[in-house]
């Protein structure tokens, strides 16, 4: 906030005044530049004044140089759990914050199931619906360990994760719910055999499957102890009645949220401006207590004035 007393109207040059701070904006202009005010009907001053020459007629340089930004910028983490995080960025503009938000949602890679090879599906859930639901299941793995799979590549252990799902509900037993913990990781690659034209040849060599793993994924150091499993084991994928069966193989690849929302790593990400409450007049005593108790988030704090009065 700009300090100092600037006087708006003078007949002589304003620079002659001894107490006008050189190079700083007058307080009401600084308020306009740096704060969004919430009026009764709508917020005002929402567009940030980015233009470097905005205050050129007053001789004030609005261009923000990198050193000033580096000095003033602070990050304060408010909350950090495994599943969510809240932090304050002070000294940054809404444009950059929004870019970060958009990148978080759309351009961070994750792994998600993309191709589903269905061998048998006699359930009431259609194939495509089942495949869609499988794609949305989050997988607990670090996507940085994998490469992207393009159309020309062959699926191998560096760019694909293979899961298998084989559930059946016997006749006479009650309906079962297929949850995401039924997805079993196959570290050795696909087990479905491709149908090749020349069936006569190489009955001795390994049959060709849908992936070309040269080594088991279990040998990769990060996966030695941690199995690759869906992040939450209790996501309902399908329900099976008696006598029904689902047998399928799912391949997960790396992608970004822009292509399909299943690859978005965040449930959502949002930002808002940090609110600042300015009391226009001093509030004392009982009114102060009442105001403090009314606020549900405990924003206000009461400090003693020393004479026994209390002031907010």
């Amino acid at each position: 906030m700009a300090e100092g007393a600037g006087e708006e109207k003078k007949k002589f040059s304003i620079w002659d005044l001894p107490d006008v701070p050189m190079g700083q904006l007058l307080p009401h202009l600084e308020l306009q530049r740096s704060r969004v005010s919430c009026n009764k009907d709508a917020p005002i001053h929402t567009e940030s004044i980015q233009y470097s020459g905005a205050y050129a007629s007053m001789g004030i340089n609005n261009s923000s140089r990198l050193d000033r930004f580096s000095n003033n910028f602070r990050v304060e983490v408010v909350r950090l759990n495994e599943d969510d995080m809240e932090f304050d960025m002070i000294g940054i503009d809404a444009a950059i914050a929004n870019s970060f938000r958009r990148i978080l949602i759309a351009e961070l890679p994750t792994m998600a199931i993309e191709k589903v090879f269905i061998a048998n599906n006699t359930s009431i859930i259609q194939d495509e619906v089942l495949a869609h639901r499988l794609g949305l299941v989050p997988i607990h793995v670090d996507p940085r360990l994998f490469y992207y799979l393009s159309e020309n590549d062959q699926p191998n252990e560096k760019n694909t994760i293979v899961f298998k799902l084989h559930v059946q509900c016997k006749r006479g037993s009650p309906r079962i719910t297929v949850k995401s913990d039924a997805l079993k990781w196959l570290p050795n690659g696909s087990e479905l055999v491709k149908e090749t034209r020349n069936a006569a040849s190489d009955s001795s060599s390994k049959p060709e499957t849908y992936t070309y793993f040269s080594c088991s994924q279990e040998t990769i150091p990060e996966f030695v102890k941690n199995l690759i499993i869906p992040k939450y084991p209790d996501i309902i994928i399908a329900k099976l009645g008696p006598g029904r069966e689902i047998e399928l193989e799912a391949h997960a690849v790396k992608g970004i949220g822009k292509t399909h929302a299943k690859w978005s790593p965040v449930a959502t990400a949002w930002y808002r401006m940090l609110p600042e409450v300015v009391l226009l007049e001093d509030i004392e005593d009982d009114l102060a207590e009442e105001l403090k108790s009314k606020c549900p988030v405990n924003v206000f704090d009461i400090e003693d004035l020393g004479k026994g009065e209390e002031q907010l």
Binding site: Q50, Y51, S52, G53, N61, S63, S64, R65, L66, F69, S70, F73, R74, V75, E76, V77, V78, R79, L80, E86, F87, M89, I92, D93, A95, I96, N98, S99, F100, R102, I103, A106, E107, P275, V297, N298, V299
Partner: protein, 117 residues
């Protein structure tokens, strides 16, 4: 792709493919901060097509240099944000670990009502 004129270097429109508001708004912000720029803006000709036009007009310097500098500034800004963020997360984790130890040792439930606003 740059659409400019051969005689006047200081004003040009840059057409970026496969981009959207994410980078265009950020670049426009850093361009605005540059004192050599008289006008800058971006537009998206059609929302179904991933293309952004960034218009830069400067006070004499060639527009593509100014754009390059703005991108560089943006990169440095983001790098600084990243460092500050990493440090803040580490500090938070460290202070939380210390708090957890203190709570365990004192054997009391110290409730820190943090003001989140």
């Amino acid at each position: 792709m740059e659409h400019g004129s051969f005689t006047d270097n200081s004003a040009a429109t840059f057409s970026l493919t496969d981009e959207d508001h994410t980078i265009a708004n950020a670049v426009r912000f850093t361009l605005n901060q540059d004192p050599r720029v008289t006008f800058c803006g971006y537009s998206i000709p059609h929302p179904s097509e991933a293309r952004v036009n960034i218009r830069v007009q400067t006070t004499g310097d060639p527009a593509r240099e100014v754009l390059k500098d703005a991108c560089q500034n943006l990169m440095l800004m983001c790098r600084h944000v990243r460092c500050t963020f990493d440090k803040a997360v580490e500090d938070f984790k460290a202070s939380n670990a210390v708090k957890a130890l203190k709570i365990d040792s004192q054997d009391s439930s110290g409730d820190d009502s943090e003001e989140s606003e």
